[in-house]
Structures are given as structure tokens and as C-alpha cells.
């Protein structure tokens, strides 16, 4: 790993400590089985406030089985939060800065998912450390668009060797309030290695009517091309028919009005800066809705993780590339 990445807890006397958020996130896209999933561990709220929480999620969508795994919520003082790790009872994610690895595990036998993954970077890091405006707060992030995985998942009794799977990792931190007028659209689209890894992101308002210009990066081995501003179009259309699994269940029960979310049935990305050209189209097949709650004041955010397939065609540095892969698209409102 080319740099050290640590959690960013608020310093003493930070007036916005209550809005602190820190996430370690990993996506697993297994081209052999078609399974697409995520493992993440996060901290919400001032770590010195007993109401603050640690949340762990391990969810894998397996064709023919549906969503396996679950979400775990603990008080922040009940979780083991280290310098670069968040470990709950059943879900943990850690960055091993010394050995340049990312480690993730989940042990959720009641939810038919066990998973242990070790990841190493297979692309350059994508640091976005400057605070980007998000609602009344800000967000920063650090991503590894492609990571090489080793490990296994036991999903509904079936053993998946993840050595051939693609992976993505990021770390998000900042100060924002769930429930503010904020949202984002983000996606990682990974062809089987050594194919390209695409990452697209933009922040939006809660209705997704206004948004910042999208950023698109394309990593092919050690090479990266970035597109920004007017050179990138991100278009969402249609309405996804797949019924979401909604977690945690208590929050889903509270928000019956969000049981039928209007989510896109297709995402299209087109980037053209006059030199290089990228076109990709994503079709989600399943969705999970994670309800994120503010721990110290009333406020809720809704993170929709859409799992599916994509096709791409691009001209990069004079080379023509095309193919298919697996993707996760996140729609937050």
C-alpha cells in the first residue's frame, strides 16, 4: 500500500464531533458465481458519547439465493475501534498498514454467511482527502479501485473461493447528519482482472435533483484515466422492480414509507474528454436498503446498495477495450 490510512476520530473540543462518521468498506464481486456483496464497519457519532454506535454489515447477493448476511449494531464502547480497524462481534474490517493489506471477516451463521477475506492493492490509491461539501457537513474518502482478494465465503452452505473475485475498498470519513438534504451516487464496476475497474461518484441533494459533476476514474493495471466535470455524464433511468431487503429491521419497520423506494433500473455512464472515451451500462438485479440513524438527534439516511451486471466499451490511450463485469451502485437519500 502506498500510504498509511487511519480512522479520523474527532479531536477534543471538535464542535461537530456528534456528526462524526468513519467507514471502512469493501466490495466483493465474484465473477465465477455472480455473487456481489459488501463488508463494511463504521462508527457514527462522537466516540465519547455512549449513544454513538458502531455498525457492521456483511451482505452478499448470490444468484438463486438472494441476500445472505446481516447488519450488526453495537454501542461504540462495545466494539473494538482501533487506529485503522472497526471490529464488532460478528463483522470486522481492518487496514493492516504495516503489511499493506485490508482484512475483512463476517461470521453470521444464522444468516447463512461466513466470510474471510485478505486484500492487497492492485491499483493506485484514489485519495480525495479534501473535505467535499455534503449537506451541512463534509465528506472525504480514500479508495483503492481494485484490490486483489484471497479468502473464502460460505454462502448458504456453498463454499466460494474468492481468489478469482474482484474487489474494491474505500474509507470514508467526515461530519454529516443523516436526514440532512444530502445524497450521493457512487458505483464500482469491475471487469474480471486484468480488465478495467471503473469508479464513478457524485454528491447530490436528497431528491437527487441537483448534484455535483460526477467524477469517473478508470484503472487498467497501474494506469489511470480520470474524467471530471462536463466530460462525464451519469444518467439513471427506469424503476427497479426488485424488492429490497431492508436493514436493520426495526428501522425498516419505522420507515414503512421507504418500503417501495424509487430506484433506477439502469445507470449509464459516458465520458469523453476528446482524447479518451468510455461508455458503460449497468443493470441492477437486487437491492438492499440500509437505514442509517443519527445516534444523538433524530435523523435518518437511506443507503441503497444495488448489485448487478454491467457492459462497457472504451477507447483509452489508443487501445479499444470492451467486456462485461459485476458492479455495485450506491444510491443514498
Amino acid at each position: 500500500m502506498s500510504s498509511i490510512d487511519l480512522l479520523r476520530p474527532p479531536p477534543p473540543y471538535d464542535p461537530r464531533a456528534a456528526e462524526y462518521k468513519d467507514w471502512l468498506h469493501l466490495n466483493v464481486l465474484d465473477h465465477g458465481s455472480g455473487a456481489v456483496g459488501l463488508v463494511n464497519a463504521s462508527v457514527h457519532g462522537d466516540p465519547r458519547d455512549e449513544r454513538s454506535r458502531a455498525v457492521g454489515a456483511a451482505l452478499l447477493h448470490v444468484p438463486g439465493e438472494g441476500w445472505l448476511g446481516n447488519l450488526e449494531v453495537l454501542g461504540v464502547d462495545e466494539a473494538a475501534v482501533g487506529g485503522a480497524s472497526v471490529a464488532l462481534e460478528h463483522v470486522a474490517v481492518a487496514r493492516d498498514n504495516e503489511r499493506g493489506r485490508i482484512l475483512a471477516s463476517a461470521d453470521l451463521p444464522d444468516d447463512e454467511l461466513r466470510l474471510e477475506v485478505t486484500a492487497t492493492p492492485a491499483s493506485r490509491p484514489l485519495p480525495v482527502e479534501l473535505p467535499l461539501p455534503l449537506g451541512s457537513g463534509w465528506i472525504s474518502w480514500y479508495a483503492l479501485p481494485r484490490i486483489e482478494l484471497s479468502g473464502t465465503a460460505i454462502a448458504a452452505g456453498r463454499r466460494l473461493d474468492l481468489a478469482g473475485a474482484s474487489g474494491y475498498h474505500d474509507h470514508n470519513w467526515g461530519r454529516w447528519r443523516w436526514g440532512d438534504d444530502l445524497g450521493w451516487e457512487w458505483g464500482c464496476f469491475l471487469a474480471p482482472a486484468p480488465g478495467p475497474a471503473f469508479v464513478v461518484a457524485r454528491t447530490t441533494d436528497r431528491e437527487h435533483e441537483r448534484g455535483s459533476p460526477p467524477l469517473l476514474t478508470v484503472d487498467v493495471g497501474p494506469a489511470r484515466r480520470s474524467f471530471a466535470g462536463a466530460a462525464v455524464e451519469l444518467a439513471l433511468d427506469g424503476m427497479l422492480e426488485a424488492e429490497p431487503r431492508r436493514l436493520p429491521g426495526a428501522m425498516a419497520a419505522l420507515h414503512q414509507d421507504r418500503a417501495l423506494p424509487r430506484l433506477p433500473a439502469r445507470a449509464r455512464v459516458r465520458a469523453d474528454d476528446g482524447r479518451d472515451l468510455v461508455e458503460l451500462e449497468f443493470h441492477p438485479r437486487a437491492c438492499v436498503q440500509i437505514v442509517a440513524a443519527e445516534p444523538a438527534s433524530r435523523g435518518y439516511g437511506f443507503l441503497h446498495e444495488l448489485a448487478g451486471d454491467f457492459a462497457y466499451a472504451c477507447r483509452l490511450g489508443g487501445s479499444l477495450l470492451h467486456g462485461r463485469g459485476l458492479a455495485v451502485f450506491e444510491y443514498v437519500c
Binding site: G75, D110, R245, R246, A250, A253, A259
Partner: protein
């Protein structure tokens, strides 16, 4: 919650256990042995509670599948659901309630968790009119005109 339920008395059933609950004039909650008539009643079972907590079923599915029942006149039923909503909303900010949910899940005195029971809804995900499950529920409860 006290404003919503007032002096009403409700019965809560979980599997084969039942208690009555009501607020006293002083505002504290009293949990009582079931006795006599109550204003409203809610009943479910442990498996349904866990399936709801784990997002395997939605509340509407639990009601349609007769896994969650709330009884009373319309006013009482509405008040019970508002009380539940207040309770759910507060779980996000009250660690003691989160611990209570964990204790319930891990309670060694209760049966082990079985494989989740997912919804059996036959209708569409985005209903546009009366769905077959809704019709069956109304029939079952004798609420068909």
C-alpha cells in the same frame, strides 16, 4: 408515548406468554398479569420478531401472513401502532433498548433461532389495487363487506 396511550390498558402476547401494560397516573409503566378486558391487544411470536429485526419480512408481510396481530377498535389499533412507532424511533438513540434487543436474541432460556421465514406474499411488489393477500386477510378477519 404516555400522551398517545393515556390510561388505556393493552395486552401483549409473545408465543405462550402474555402481560398487560398501562401507564400509571404518575407516568410510570406497570406490567401486570393478564386480567379481564383490555383496550387493545398485540400478538406475535419469537421467530417473527427475529425475522422482522433481521429484515427478512416487512411488517405488512407479517400482518398478511397472520404472524403479527393487533386487535381492538380502530382508535385503539391506531394508538398501538403509534406507540410502536415511538418505541422504534427511540431505539436508534437509547443504548439500553438496543441491549434489550440483543438480550432477547441471545436469551439462552428460549429456543434456538430457526431458518428465517420469508414473506409468502403472492401479490406484486408495487400493488396498484387490492392484492390477493389483502383480500384473504379481510376475509379471514370477517371484514369483507
Amino acid at each position: 408515548m404516555r400522551e398517545v396511550v393515556g390510561a388505556r390498558r393493552a395486552r401483549i402476547r409473545l408465543d405462550d406468554e402474555a402481560v398487560d401494560v398501562r401507564f400509571t397516573a404518575g407516568g410510570s409503566l406497570r406490567v401486570l398479569r393478564p386480567r379481564g378486558r383490555v383496550d387493545g391487544e398485540g400478538a406475535t411470536d419469537r421467530a417473527t420478531v427475529l425475522d422482522l429485526l433481521d429484515g427478512h419480512v416487512e411488517v405488512v408481510d407479517a400482518i398478511l401472513d397472520a404472524r403479527l396481530e393487533v386487535r381492538g377498535d380502530a382508535d385503539a389499533v391506531a394508538r398501538i401502532f403509534v406507540a410502536i412507532e415511538i418505541l422504534l424511533d427511540s431505539t436508534a438513540r437509547i443504548p439500553a433498548l438496543q441491549r434489550l434487543a440483543r438480550d432477547f436474541r441471545l436469551d439462552p432460556c428460549r429456543a434456538l433461532r430457526e431458518r428465517p421465514v420469508r414473506r409468502s406474499r403472492r401479490g406484486s411488489f408495487r400493488p396498484t389495487g387490492e392484492e390477493p393477500d389483502e383480500a384473504a386477510l379481510l376475509e379471514r378477519l370477517g371484514l369483507r363487506p
